[in-house]
Amino acid sequence: MRQQHSTEDPRQAWAYVTPALAIVLLVALFPLAWTVWESLHQHDLRMPWLGRPFVGLANYGEILRDPRFWGALAHTAFFAVTSIALELVFGLFLALALNESFRGRGLVRAAVLIPWAIPTVVAALLWRFMFDSQAGIANAVLVRAGVLDEPIVWFIRAATAWVPVILADVWKTTPFVALLLLAGLQNIDRSLYEAAATDGAGPWWQLRHITLPLLAPAMLVVLIFRTLDAFRVFDLVYVLTGGGPGTSTEPISIYAFNAMLQNLEFGYGAALSVVIFLMTFGLAVLYIKGLRADLGGGR
């Protein structure tokens, strides 16, 4: 039978795949190609009389000299490194705890999934409310605990504005990280722990010498996956700080968005989006390579 399957008419398989593939090509790849083409032009909708002259790589040259771009890149990198580090640490704790069997584990696992599933906009608003200067519980708690002398306005300075941004991301994404790590944990052969325990190794030794090394591949996948996400961050920062004060927390995606849909500099904005695309594409290739065996079709 199996032979008969493999000698089947490949046209049939293509017929099944074509509609979905056509949609993906049409709505995703075609616009991407358009963005690349657009990025080679000067296209400013505020000055339509200039037309849309071809300028080659001039937009990219301008990006390299644009301090706002480098600032946005630095903000994005800062956001990525800080939030992902915290998410990996908390996610590991959570995954290890969820890997133990206890009553109500299913319920807990479902409950921690909820922050991941809610709209990012809602998560951002919940945290903006908690860090509101008047009604925010963060100020109330910190003043009562003596950490702050008086309530502060968190969103007026970059240093303090980052706090709710990072915390909101960690809150929203740690459950997801934990679930991915949990899947990795469940693939570790239980007999390794039993053998170690028979030899008198404690849980700390087991964690360092069995769990962490064997979890490393899963952690790497999570790391790449989250870095990809962090480089695309938009909703969270847009709602929490709007990139402000000024542009001091502006990530690259918000800069590109403002360039295009607010300043109507479509050519320059397109070049910015191509840069974002190339950076995430590099990460995506790494990620897909990591999953390659899985893609081969064999189980």
Partner: protein
């Protein structure tokens, strides 16, 4: 594998993390039921004086049912399209052998990781040329960019888990691939299709950037855009914003709790290989 006091520490850590996870929800719900004056004067951990005014204002004054209607229509239509077209493609990709399959799978996975921002401007110009800005199709089309690859990817994962011999009896009896797909695979895949539909719906329900870019006013705004753009006359209308946040969260939370096991399965199968 932990014993005695170690279990207690693990339990304590877990309880703390779950508590921290739950607190923002708790606080948001409490605040959405608290009069604004109390909220700003003396924030209290326990609701002292419960009111439903914010929810009433949300629907009576802000017509919040309009963004809800828009979100349901857009996310629902996108999801149905993705399941209909995506399941067929996923079937071929998971269970038929043909050249180019690996390339297509890689392409689809790559598109799930597309930065949305990199296609916003051409989509905007395209939709404007087609006069689709501020319409339902003007959101459904862009939503297919992330929803279709996601649905196909999840379904491939699910279809691969079905045993090979499942179809063989039908194929030996002379059934065509199409018959095998519609009469054997689809009926046993109802839970997988439902899970994929739930996840696709959630992604569409939560989407913000496209909905922000391709709508012009309240008539076609989706829930996240409407909430994010809430403005008050004098100060931020926190009571109503939080009431809206609760309303936007309830359907998603319900779906997650219902389909928890399978969602976890689908997500982790796609992201970390088993």
């Amino acid at each position: 594998m932990l014993t005695g006091w170690q279990r207690w520490i693990a339990g304590g850590v877990l309880a703390l993390l779950v508590g921290l996870t739950a607190f923002p929800f708790y606080w948001g719900i409490v605040a959405s039921l608290t009069p604004e004056a109390t909220l700003f004067r003396e924030p209290s951990l326990w609701p002292t004086h419960i009111i439903l005014d914010h929810y009433r204002a949300l629907f009576d004054e802000r017509d919040f049912w309009i963004p809800i209607r828009n979100s349901v229509i857009v996310a629902g239509t996108t999801t149905l399209l993705c399941i209909a077209v995506g399941s067929l493609a996923a079937y071929a990709l998971a269970r038929l052998e043909f050249r180019g399959k690996t390339t297509i799978l890689s392409l689809i996975l790559a598109v799930t990781m597309f930065p949305q921002i990199s296609i916003v401007s051409p989509l905007y110009l395209l939709l404007r040329a087609l006069r689709l800005i501020d319409t339902y199709p003007g959101l459904i089309l862009p939503y297919l960019t992330f929803a279709m690859p996601l649905a196909v990817w999840l379904l491939v994962g699910f279809f691969r888990q079905l045993p090979l011999d499942l179809e063989e009896a039908a194929l030996v009896d002379g059934a065509s691939r199409w018959q095998s797909f519609t009469r054997v695979i689809l009926p046993v895949s109802v839970p997988a299709l439902a899970t994929t539909a739930i996840l696709t719906f959630i992604y569409c329900w939560n989407e913000f950037l496209f909905a922000l870019s391709f709508t012009l006013g309240p008539e076609r705004q989706t829930v996240p855009v409407a909430i994010a753009l809430f403005r008050g006359q004098y100060q931020v209308p926190w009571g109503q914003i939080l009431a809206a946040a609760v309303v936007a969260t309830v359907p998603v939370a319900a779906m997650v709790l219902l389909a928890q096991r399978r969602i976890v399965q689908g997500l982790t199968a796609g992201a970390v290989k088993g």
